[in-house]
């Protein structure tokens, strides 16, 4: 099968600091591709380059066969990118429902779909329904009217998922979706990701420090260290890899 995402010779540096040093990898349709590595390995930077938040210095990114290396971030969103951030980012003074409505309306604007009469200031019924459905689906129904700033960390993360799904993405980029969460919340988010995958048939790219989450979800793993790829393969293969054990998986493997 043709890969969804093809990354060739990707370089990124911040001034003199080389953060990504020539990455090559492919992500296949509908797989869960996890990126792991120690702090500062360059995982978030890789996500930023892939989503268009920062430009790369050298290299090429292809999405479904098209070169998107120099495409603006919002256009990548239009073509199917969805993203959550390492530290959850929502629109704090909009209500939970409005947060998602804004995302749905942005998608409709990009698709040139007219929703409701132009002079109506309330969101169209179908927009509202879709947004509230997502809000409820992520377990935030009781929070729908609250301003997003008052949400707990875990709920902010859920809202971020709802905002992302409002754009109907085909590839999700999740930067440490369970960072800073309690063990129960981690399980809940893991289940959520699995459910989104099975319901929507999306491709998932994620980074994570929690090995339980990783080995639970991922089809393939990529291990990064200092901006280089140490190993790529199935969780089993990666576990068996000697270098990876030495550099990163050392203690985590003991109880994984």
């Amino acid at each position: 099968m043709k890969p969804v995402l093809e990354v060739t010779n990707l370089h990124k540096s911040y001034a003199a600091l080389k953060v990504l040093k020539g990455l090559n990898f492919n992500v296949a349709e509908k797989e869960t591709f996890a990126i792991i590595g120690p702090n500062g390995a360059g995982k978030t930077t890789l996500f930023k380059v892939l989503t268009g938040e920062v430009p790369c210095n050298v290299g090429q990114i292809k999405f479904r066969g098209t070169d998107i290396t120099h495409q603006q971030a919002f256009r990548r969103v239009h073509s199917g990118f969805g993203r959550t951030f390492q530290v959850a980012r929502v629109f704090p003074s909009l209500t939970v429902a409005e947060n998602v409505i804004v995302a749905v309306e942005a998608r409709l604007r990009a698709e040139n779909v007219r929703s409701g009469k132009w002079y109506h200031w309330r969101p169209a019924a179908e927009v509202r329904d879709e947004a509230l459905h997502l809000v409820a689906d992520l377990g935030l129904a009781n929070e729908a009217e609250r301003e997003a700033r008052y949400l707990s960390h875990g709920d902010k993360k859920r809202l971020e998922f709802a905002i992302m799904l409002g754009g109907r993405p085909s590839i999700l980029m999740l930067d440490e979706p369970t960072a800073g969460m309690s063990p129960t919340e981690r399980v809940a988010i893991t289940d959520l990701i699995r459910r989104i995958k099975s319901e929507r048939g999306v491709t998932v790219l994620m980074t994570e420090h929690d090995m339980d989450v990783i080995f639970n979800l991922s089809d393939r793993l990529m291990v990064m260290n200092y901006g280089e790829i140490l190993a790529v393969g199935s969780p089993k293969e990666v576990r068996a890899n000697k270098t990876v054990r030495d550099v990163y998986l050392g203690q985590e493997m003991a109880h994984a």
Binding site: T51, E53, A73, F74, V77, H78, R83, R89, V90, F91, P92, S93, L94, T95, A97, E98, N99, I101, V102, A103, E105, A106, R107, R109, A110, S115, Y119, H120, W121, R122, P123, R128, L132, A141, A144, E145, I163, G166, G167
Partner: protein, 338 residues
């Protein structure tokens, strides 16, 4: 029990509107004149706050657009151009929008935050200096003796030469503009703009073309500011390059700070409050500036969210026990509105 206090703002608005509308019948000429100016400054401030609060752009040179509209209408009236007054206002709107679009198309691509603020400030100063060199518009002295318009409506004519007639004309146009802006910020475009104001980069990742949306907002804001200028010229009956002075660009900021930026009508309330403070201290010869400054400073220190912010939190505090659904909310959940 439903929270009746949500009717506080609409009721206050209606009362204020009626009082303003009836003012020429009771008030003396100078009060009427100041109220007319306050209405114009109120809408000017609302247009500035469309950028500041609702889009997250600080413009320090908003008076440039005001000046553009004012000079166009001033020339048209003074030199008797064959353009009827309503059309003059529309042209002012288009000129302001066009100028804002041209400036925004370049500036918003390159600059944001403090850079954009300084850039707009510089543009307004350039406008002021350029006007000062043009003979046709009276150089540094400006254009005086601008006649108020008589509008020919085919069958009837609308004579706006009297002070009260023109006052009501200002009222109608200002209310229309304010309601237009109010609709805009509550519409889906307003929601998009608000999310950009909150976190522009985040908005990019829900697929918003923030450059385009910001440019849209900048254009509308400039267009409305230019109409305000156009309205002001026949009212004050003189235009000078100082309309584009940075002090005039600071006026909508001050009004917004005073009235509160978070509520839509805050800047308008601020404009009237500022006029009131100015008017009531006018007899304090020599020290009036200091007194005005002192009062403003006190209000802003006591109520950092402005007059409307303070009143709103008071309303919420008093009516806490009835925190129920508001009939003004935009989104309903399970039949209730939020």
């Amino acid at each position: 029990m439903a929270d009746r206090s949500v009717y506080f703002w609409p009721a206050a608005g209606v009362i204020a509107l009626i009082a303003t509308a009836l003012a020429p019948l009771f008030a003396n000429d100078s009060v009427t004149f100041i109220l007319g100016l306050a209405m114009i400054e109120a809408v000017f401030a609302l247009s500035w706050n469309l950028l500041f609060n609702y889009t997250g752009i600080a413009s320090f040179g908003h008076a440039a657009f005001f000046t553009l509209g004012a000079y166009f209408v001033a020339c048209a009236q003074r030199y008797g151009w064959d353009v009827t007054f309503p059309l003059q206002l529309l042209v002012a709107f288009a000129l302001g929008g066009g100028a804002a679009f041209a400036i925004g198309a370049v500036a918003l691509k390159r600059a944001s935050g403090i850079h954009l603020a300084i850039l707009t400030l510089a543009i307004a100063e350039v406008v002021r200096m350029v006007i000062g060199y043009i003979d046709y518009v009276g150089r540094d002295d400006g254009l005086g003796g601008i006649p108020r318009p008589v509008v020919n409506l085919g069958l009837a004519t609308l004579d706006l030469r009297s002070s009260s007639a023109y006052y009501w004309c200002i009222l109608v146009v200002c209310v229309a503009l304010a309601l237009g802006l109010w609709w805009l910020v509550r519409s889906r475009y307003g929601r998009a703009l608000r999310s950009i104001a909150e976190d522009a980069e985040r908005a990019t990742f829900v697929g918003m073309d923030i450059y385009k949306l910001r440019l849209f907002s900048f254009t509308i804001s400039g267009a409305v500011a230019a109409i305000c200028g156009g309205l002001s010229a026949p009212w004050v009956q003189i235009v000078t390059p100082d309309l584009s002075h940075w002090l005039h660009s600071a006026q909508p900021m001050l009004n917004t700070l005073l009235g509160g930026s978070a509520m839509f009508w805050g800047p308008a309330v601020g404009a009237f409050a500022y006029s009131l403070i100015n008017y009531s201290t006018r007899t304090l010869d020599g020290v009036s500036e200091i007194v005005v400054g002192g009062i403003l400073l006190t209000i802003i220190l006591i109520a950092p969210t402005g007059i409307t912010g303070a009143l709103e939190s008071l309303r919420r505090k008093i009516f806490q026990k009835w925190r129920a659904a508001s009939p003004w909310a935009q989104v309903r959940v399970k039949g209730e509105q939020i």
